[in-house]
Symmetry: C2
Subunit: 552 residues, 2 copies
Amino acid sequence: MLDRRNLIVLFAICLCMVLSPRPSLAARPRPNQSVMAELIKSYGPSYVVEPVVTQSRPSPEAYASLRNMFFRYEESKALGSDLQLNERELQANQIIMATKMQEYNEGLITPHLFKPSQHFFKVLENIKATDLFRYMSAMPKGAVLHAHDTAIGSTEYLIKLTYRDNLWVCQNVGGLEAESLVFSKNQPAQSSDSDCTWSLMSDVRTKYGGNAVDEYLAERLTLFPTTKFDDNNAAWQQFMTIFSLVNGLLFYAPVWADYYYNALEEFLADNVQYVEFRTTLPVLYDLEDTQYTEVDTVRIYVETLKKFKDAHSDFIGSRMIYAPLRNTNGSVVSDYIKTLLTITELYPDFVAGFDLVGQEELGRPLKEFISELLAVPESIDFYFHAGETNWYGSSVDENLIDAVLLGTKRIGHGFALVKHPFVLEMLKKLNVAIEVNPISNQVLQLVTDFRNHPCSHFFADGYPVVISSDDPSFWKATPLSHDFYIAFLGIASAHSDLRLLKKLALNSIRYSSLTVDQQYDALSKWQPKWDAFIEYVITGTQRSAAPSLKLA
Amino acid sequence: MLDRRNLIVLFAICLCMVLSPRPSLAARPRPNQSVMAELIKSYGPSYVVEPVVTQSRPSPEAYASLRNMFFRYEESKALGSDLQLNERELQANQIIMATKMQEYNEGLITPHLFKPSQHFFKVLENIKATDLFRYMSAMPKGAVLHAHDTAIGSTEYLIKLTYRDNLWVCQNVGGLEAESLVFSKNQPAQSSDSDCTWSLMSDVRTKYGGNAVDEYLAERLTLFPTTKFDDNNAAWQQFMTIFSLVNGLLFYAPVWADYYYNALEEFLADNVQYVEFRTTLPVLYDLEDTQYTEVDTVRIYVETLKKFKDAHSDFIGSRMIYAPLRNTNGSVVSDYIKTLLTITELYPDFVAGFDLVGQEELGRPLKEFISELLAVPESIDFYFHAGETNWYGSSVDENLIDAVLLGTKRIGHGFALVKHPFVLEMLKKLNVAIEVNPISNQVLQLVTDFRNHPCSHFFADGYPVVISSDDPSFWKATPLSHDFYIAFLGIASAHSDLRLLKKLALNSIRYSSLTVDQQYDALSKWQPKWDAFIEYVITGTQRSAAPSLKLA
């Protein structure tokens, strides 16, 4: 096999021979020099007056080898192409590619049935039934690096939580519609800014029947099944009402710990071994009116994580990015940073860095908080959301530039990056990863057909990408497997294979906030699962070496 | 003003100072060397074990000037940024940008009302009512370089043609539905592959009423108002039925000449002064059973063009690209090429080159005709359709590579180019223009929201782009102004201004098949219109220097 450098040199030589600029023999007379001079004078040097390059035609044989080299060179630029698969991996690759190409080729015949061309809500169950999803699910995918803590537990688990004692629900008159939830010994006081009235959830279940309430909640706690909102603002509005409903449920201190523990369990079951989540760090509450602070929230996380790791030796770990709401002013951001410093000092192993969250388009752009952000010590890292928009040239779009200039370690979303080739160049140079959340982008109305997702470009040109799931709970997705299915079948090239998948898993560790030594340990927990996965693909059975490898 | 090279150098220096890789002081200990070695061994050198770059934070002042430079550098890469506007142009630019930003800013508040975020059919009339469209319409846009000859005349004119004597229509029983049209002295023979029956169009008008027939035809001759087809195959199917209906009408020799003459008139009225169209070169017919050949079709074009140019001194001209159907085999392609040689020899000033047309996805890819295409003499140029697809990695997608390797002068569509960064690089190096047809791409179901059109990337990175209209008649669009409106407001950055518009007009001449001397003459017809346009924008009135500048 030609090594990459030789390939490129060889290719460059051939290309120069064949495609070198030379005017064609007949059609294009050399232009009059005074005409050229005048054109340049009127329309600038960019009005290049040289005739468009004319090429000499190669022989069919020369063409065929040139073409072959072009394809190999193009492929060598794609994400994952630098990985060398071993023999077992090559075998597994054949099986996975056959599975992928079957779906792809069916899609060529009936494009409207191709799952990644449709809205996720229409196909999420069908996806689960595919062989390809079975592989995506069984594959150890490494880490989730972009997820919001109150949107990572399954709907089923959320509903289970609503069966706990002392839960009250605030409803509008005469219907099931729930506005907020809260745990309380007694009926909560009527809020001044809402007409809803409080009842015990248990009473509501008695009145409407448990099934009806559960069914209502199952819909109310996700964006499902609405595929078309007026626009992304409308989608976000609906999206935010879910957060405000779950908040009262989750911010209850005993639930907070359990919810996190359960989410880690669900992620591990989906073969995700490390979770780096964003949190607004809510102040928790309980029935005893205990006065909690943000520090307690972090403490509960750390304690719960310890418990979880003790019980799951194959789990790598979890860290948090403090990511409070961006729709605020500079003085509040300064307060955020004080909190950030406090928690980083207390829990340096758990706090990975800082971000700001909330719909970029309606919040404040990074540029408004530059002086506050520059005051953050250099030892604390940024992981900014940026470019989750399709408004090219807006202040939101420009967050991409500020994120890079502020030294962000990763870009959250970066949907608008194709509109900023120089930012892209910088990302490669500075090795800043792009956290791509395919399903989130579709549900929140940035893209309709996944085949047009800008991540195709990132894959093609080998940008450092990690695939993540953002808020899987709110779109009824599995913790990460659905996003991998979409990325692999719908966004990547038909030719992208196991090397891309492996690269995405490796990237998720590589671009995590873990130190290199920690990454080494992390990979030593990932590698046996990967080996077992390869055997599973080849033989269809699970090897004992990977105890928690759960097959869908 | 800093010149571009100085700006870049200055910028690079600052960037290196601020963003140079250096490990942060506290958080990231240098990794253990043996760990690094082992990671590289297991996961390849690409698993770069250096910690992700940590940057030192600049002062707010340094940040502000760095940011400013970043923006200026980014802007300097965008298409049109190299043009220097004169004083009058700067004045006009302010007015045009105010008009653009009003629509853009309204869009930020109510995205679902932003016209480029919607389907063109829903907004085409509203667009016409905007001030911005008025400017797009009045602007001398140079040339249309991508249009198909039987889809460039307005529906109104097509209907007018159906009033001519001896026109027969083949209808299914009991309805208006028309399957084909043909001019004939007597009732045409029943076709064996259809059940429709022939009636004189004049009789049908008497039977159903002229208005009813005209209304039916107005709908039947466009894809309007269907905004959502099952998929792009379904859209293409419907699209092809329009071609098959108009063919019988247009291939009638006397109509052929008149249709072309009228189309040139409509394009000129829309301030398009040059038209480089693709044609399948149909063999024409008349009532006298004259035996026509492809050469006659070209001859009629050339004669008609001469007549048109004699009557319109401000018109630059028109050339044809011979572009027969791709859904065929190699031996037919060889026949195509014989025809190509014949017509090129007879009409070297009118025949610009060669292409293949028809839905790429259902036709044959270029790679199947390599040996035939390589046999074409180097003096004849290619202008290939390529990448009009969202199937990444399919054989259609790969047409982009063959088009470049075959030495195409321009790429027709290139919708899939963002998935081929190396092809993009080659286009820049070889100065091959991309013919972007925004509305066509949406109507034929490749993109829904124009803000996601890949041409944003081409604009941002300064690729040689021309904006064209493909088949404006079939989507009830003006010859070019609607596509310019969409490109300028919906695809380009909010910051893109008159320089982009001027560049697009210049590019359309620059990347035409005209020789440099001809381009010089072309620009001497374009420049006075441009000057008049600038005055019109500033003063709101038309200058006499540009006789045919028609304001919408």
